[in-house]
Symmetry: C2
Subunit: 196 residues, 2 copies
DNA sequence: CGTTTAACGGAGCAAGGTTCCGTTTCCTCA
DNA sequence: TGAGGAAACGGAACCTTGCTCCGTTAAACG
């Protein structure tokens, strides 16, 4: 099978072996450091952990957002793909929405500082914000539309707003035993139901 | 009449005139800078605006939290005091709660970066977090209890959690026309209602 | 092998928070 | 009123962290 080298676009060349190796090393190091120090951990710490210079990090991941995205891409994709599946397997669209949001919340609250880094104005993190939104807002829209069509929820809520709200509720959810983001998100989703 | 010097505690002495003057100057400068640059504005900016050295800021307000608290104390107090009044004047406790939360949200969304600074883990900002909570959680508890007693809302929600949730929803609410914190908070409060 | 050049590493600069200490200013009391 | 002493001031200096730049290393290929 083909190696990780991408030769398809014509002008592109195979990557050097050390570059490939370092990229993998960096991703592992970053993931480890993110767990202990959060996604805003100093660049030098990640570099030290990986045993490379700081310049190498910036060459592979020009902004911190790029690094964070690379580390969590698989999980975000999995979450996005779960949307349609839940819609098909749940009793009602609103139930599917609730379960999908749960998935998203589970992801966020287990990644120290990630929810906080998703702020749109957070300079340098706009790529991160954009990636999450590009990937997840369409899925959320689909679920929301289905629930609205079924007459379950009040109309007028936008997926973007809901995603941001849920993301915000997850900020600081680790590290505070008296704050349960899941419960609040549940309230929020309940509030979405059409009031009779 | 007595000057601002507090001589009551026995060991305390009158403050020097220049110190009193500088404290006032600093509060004004900080308030102005917070409006344009948010509550995380560089210390040097505030010092420059006030025409004092950075040392002077740290002497009067050892941590940034102390400065922020001093700037917004009046408004927080006003919000706290509005709670019982609303409870007395509203049709139902849940309505009072909703209106009180509105007050709080209005306050937060008009203070650039304040909601974000309220995070409990935000090193150096714990005093800020504690002050807001000490002052507002009891008020919120009172409203919540009244609504629970009236059978309007589902039991089991803690004031602390609700306040943090509302605060989180307000993060980044300025500077993003597509994100309306008020609407989401409204959903959250609606979700509090006992489901029939 | 020798050449080319991608990739590396870390010194160094900028920005911001915080401390420290020599200087200034105010208060008090004779 | 005018020393003397202490409180308060100011900003230089230091630390941490993000990011860049460029001399050095080593992979790839003929």
């Amino acid at each position: 099978m083909a190696t990780q080298a991408d030769r398809s676009a014509g002008a592109s060349q195979r990557k050097r072996a050390d570059a490939v190796r370092n990229e993998k090393t960096l991703l592992d190091a970053a993931a480890a450091v993110f767990v202990t120090s959060g996604v805003e951990a100093p660049v030098r710490d990640i570099a030290a952990r990986a045993g490379v210079g700081t310049g190498t990090i910036y060459r592979h991941f020009p902004t911190r957002a790029d690094l964070i995205i690379a580390v969590y891409r698989h999980q975000v994709e999995a979450c996005a793909e779960a949307g349609p599946a839940l819609l098909a397997s749940s009793a009602t669209p609103h139930a599917a929405l609730g379960r999908w949001i749960d998935l998203f919340v589970d992801f966020l609250v287990t990644k120290r500082g990630l929810a906080g880094a998703l702020q749109p104005d957070n300079a340098g993190f706009d790529t991160l914000h954009a990636y999450f939104l590009d990937r997840l807002v369409p899925v959320c829209t689909q679920l929301l539309d289905a629930a609205a069509e079924a007459g379950e929820i009040r109309p007028g809520t936008h997926a973007y707003e809901l995603m941001r709200g849920v993301g915000n509720l997850c900020i600081g959810a680790d590290s505070d035993p008296n704050y349960d983001a899941r419960r609040l998100v549940e309230l929020l989703i309940a509030g979405l139901l059409r009031q009779r």
